[in-house]
Amino acid sequence: MSGTHVSTTINGDAVEYVCDVEETLLDVLRNRLGLTGAKEGCSTGDCGACSVTVDGRLTCSCLMLAVEAEGHEIGTIEGVANGSELHPIQQKILDHAALQCGVCTPGVVVAVKALLEKNPDPTETEVRYWLAGNLCRCTGYDKIIRAVMDAASEMRGS
C-alpha cells in the first residue's frame, strides 16, 4: 500500500511522516515515531491512556486517523517535562504515589495539563468530571485527585 505523507507539529517540532490511511495517530506515534508515552488501553476511546492534545484540545489519539494530524499541532506526554526537570503535575503524582503500574499516568498528566491551562483553579468535582475518561485500575483515583489539587495549588503559586 502506498503511504500518505503528513506534515504536522509534535511538541513544537515540525514532524513529517508517511503512514497508511487506516493507522490511528496513536499507531503512528508509537510505531513510527518512537513516541511510546501514549498507551493503548482500549483503542475505543474509553480509557484515555492514549490522550494527546490537538491544537491544545484534549483528544484520544486512538480515535483519530494519523492523516487527520496534517497541519495541526499535537502535544504528547514527551513534551510535558522540561528536559530532565519534571512538570509540577508529574512531580506531584510521584510525591503522592498516585500511580502503581503507570499505564494510565501519561494520559492523566496530559489531561490534567490541558485542564489546568483552561482552568487553573478547578474544584475537586471539576477535576473528577474532567478525568472521567481517564481510567485507572490501580490507584482508586483518590491519590490522583489529591495530586492534581496539590499541583494546581502549586502552579497558582499559593
Binding site: T24, T44, G45, S51, R57, L58, L63, V67, A111, L131
Partner: protein, 285 residues
C-alpha cells in the same frame, strides 16, 4: 481505504457521489473510528469534513443559531450565547463521552450515526431543530426527528452531507432541558433520555411544548401526547402526572443488560417530570 479532506462542501459531495464502494463522512470520528477498528464497517472512502470552513462555525441566524456540521460539542459548550438560549441542547451535547471525546465529537455526527440512545438527539427534537442537508441534488431541510429511520440507519441518500443544524429563535419565557439515566455518573450509554422544551405565557400557562424521548425505541421519538399533557396547564403536579403517563406509554423499549422493559418505561416517566421542572424553571427566568 482512501482518505480525502476537501475544503469545500461541493467538493466533498462530488467525491462522495463519485464513489462506487462504501463511503463515509468523517466528522469527529468518535463513532466512525470505533466502527472501523472493530470491523463493523470497512469503508472504501472516508471524507473528512473538518477542513470545510463553512461547517466550522456557530452563527446567529434569524434569532436562532446555526451550528456547522464540523463544530465539536466542546465548542458548543464554550459558546456563552448558545448556552443561554438553548441550555438543554448544549447540556445534552456535553454529556457525550469524556473530555477527550467532547473535543472531537459533533452533534451532527451524533444525529447521523442514528443510535437510539444518542444523547443530543432528544434535546434537538424538543428544540424543533432542523438539519440542513446538501447533496448532489441540491439542498433540503428536514426536522431532526426525520433523520433516523432505524438503529444505525439515516434517511440520508448517497452523496448527502448534513451541513448544519439550525436551532430556531425562541419566544420569551421559554426553557429547555435534557436528562438521561445511566448507571454511572459519566461515560455510559443512556438507558433513557428525555429532552423537553416549553414556552409559557405571561400568566405562567404553557403555550407550547415538545418532548423528545431516547433509548426506549428503535429511533428517538417525538412524543406529541406528552407535549399535550403540558400545553394549557401551569405545569403543576396534575400535568406532570399526565406527562409521566404519556411518556411511559410512548416507550417501546428492549430488554438489555442496562435496563429491562419495565424499568425503562417507568424511568422515562419519572425523568420526563424532572426535565419538565428544569425547563419550567429556566422558562421562568
Amino acid at each position: 481505504m482512501r482518505y480525502e479532506a476537501p475544503d469545500t462542501i461541493d467538493a466533498a459531495i462530488a467525491i462522495l457521489a463519485a464513489e462506487d464502494g462504501i463511503a463515509r463522512v468523517l466528522a469527529g470520528g468518535t463513532d466512525l473510528l470505533v466502527q472501523i477498528r472493530s470491523d463493523m464497517i470497512e469503508p472504501d472512502l472516508v471524507v473528512d469534513i473538518k477542513n470545510i470552513n463553512s461547517m466550522r462555525s456557530i452563527t446567529p441566524e434569524n434569532g436562532g443559531y446555526r451550528i456547522g456540521g464540523a463544530v465539536s460539542c466542546a465548542e458548543m459548550g464554550e459558546h456563552a450565547d448558545l448556552c443561554a438560549q438553548w441550555p438543554g441542547v448544549v447540556e445534552a451535547a456535553e454529556l457525550i463521552g469524556s473530555t477527550q471525546v467532547q473535543g472531537r465529537a459533533t452533534m451532527t455526527g451524533n444525529l447521523c450515526n442514528c443510535g437510539p440512545a444518542a444523547d443530543s438527539v432528544p434535546a434537538m427534537v424538543a428544540a424543533e431543530a432542523i438539519a440542513t442537508i446538501v447533496g448532489p441534488n441540491g439542498r433540503r431541510d428536514i426536522p431532526v426527528e426525520d433523520m433516523p429511520v432505524a438503529p444505525g440507519k439515516s434517511s440520508l441518500t448517497k452523496g448527502e452531507i448534513v451541513e448544519s443544524v439550525f436551532l430556531p429563535a425562541r419566544p420569551e419565557r421559554s426553557g429547555d432541558a435534557y436528562l438521561r439515566f445511566i448507571p454511572r455518573t459519566e461515560m455510559d450509554i443512556a438507558v433513557v433520555g428525555v429532552g423537553i422544551s416549553l414556552t409559557l405565557d405571561g400568566h405562567g400557562t404553557c403555550t407550547h411544548a415538545r418532548v423528545g424521548l431516547g433509548a426506549v425505541a428503535a429511533t428517538v421519538l417525538l412524543v406529541d401526547d406528552a407535549a399535550k399533557a403540558l400545553i394549557g396547564t401551569r405545569v403543576d403536579d396534575a400535568a406532570l402526572d399526565k406527562l409521566a403517563a404519556a411518556t411511559s406509554a410512548a416507550c417501546k423499549p428492549i430488554n438489555d443488560k442496562r435496563g429491562t422493559i419495565e424499568f425503562r418505561t417507568k424511568v422515562a416517566g419519572v425523568l420526563a417530570q424532572r426535565v419538565a421542572k428544569i425547563a419550567l424553571d429556566r422558562a421562568g427566568k
